[in-house]
Amino acid sequence: MNSGAAPYILIALGVFFDLVGALGLIRLPDVYNRLQAATKCVTLGTIFILAGVIVWSGWNAMGVKALLAAVFVLWTSPTGSHALARGAHIAGVPLWEKSVCDKYRDDTGR
């Protein structure tokens, strides 16, 4: 239980990444920009917070549960965001007007 300041530094890093992800979700101009900024930052921040829980608790039931939650987030968050981006593109949401290329439309012709 007494592991110094390392878990709190990890949790502070995670909260900072979550804050940056929420800021990107509000400020960016497009669905796809928002999706990539928010998904990457928030996944990394949540992994940092759960790593802080693992370091704080040590190798017992709490640490194993936190490790399991981290593995679930690391698997499911990119899959869900990929499905959301594909669904948004098929639903016909336009890209930002300063976007350069659209490889998915070039490949599928839609």
């Binding site: 909260v15 928002r34 949540t46 759960l50 709490m62 968050s77 899959t79 869900g80 959301l84």
Partner: protein, 64 residues
């Protein structure tokens, strides 16, 4: 939040991932490890909800 329905779906997805981190912080503050049971269950359920929203946005049924 957002001019189109996919923006709201993205926000719901991000909130679902953030709640897992908030459960981890609560587990450290209170010292009770059953908050991490909530975190595991919430991660799986928000993933299923995100996939359902994505299928809805594609305009297709759940069986293809």
């Amino acid at each position: 939040m957002g001019p189109t329905p996919p923006d709201r779906a993205v926000a719901i997805d991000i909130i679902g991932v953030m709640v897992v981190g908030i459960c981890g912080i609560f587990a450290i503050i209170t010292g009770m490890d059953w908050y991490l049971n909530i975190a595991i269950a919430w991660a799986l359920l928000s993933f299923i909800g995100t996939l359902a929203l994505a299928k809805y946005l594609e305009g297709r049924g759940f069986d293809e």
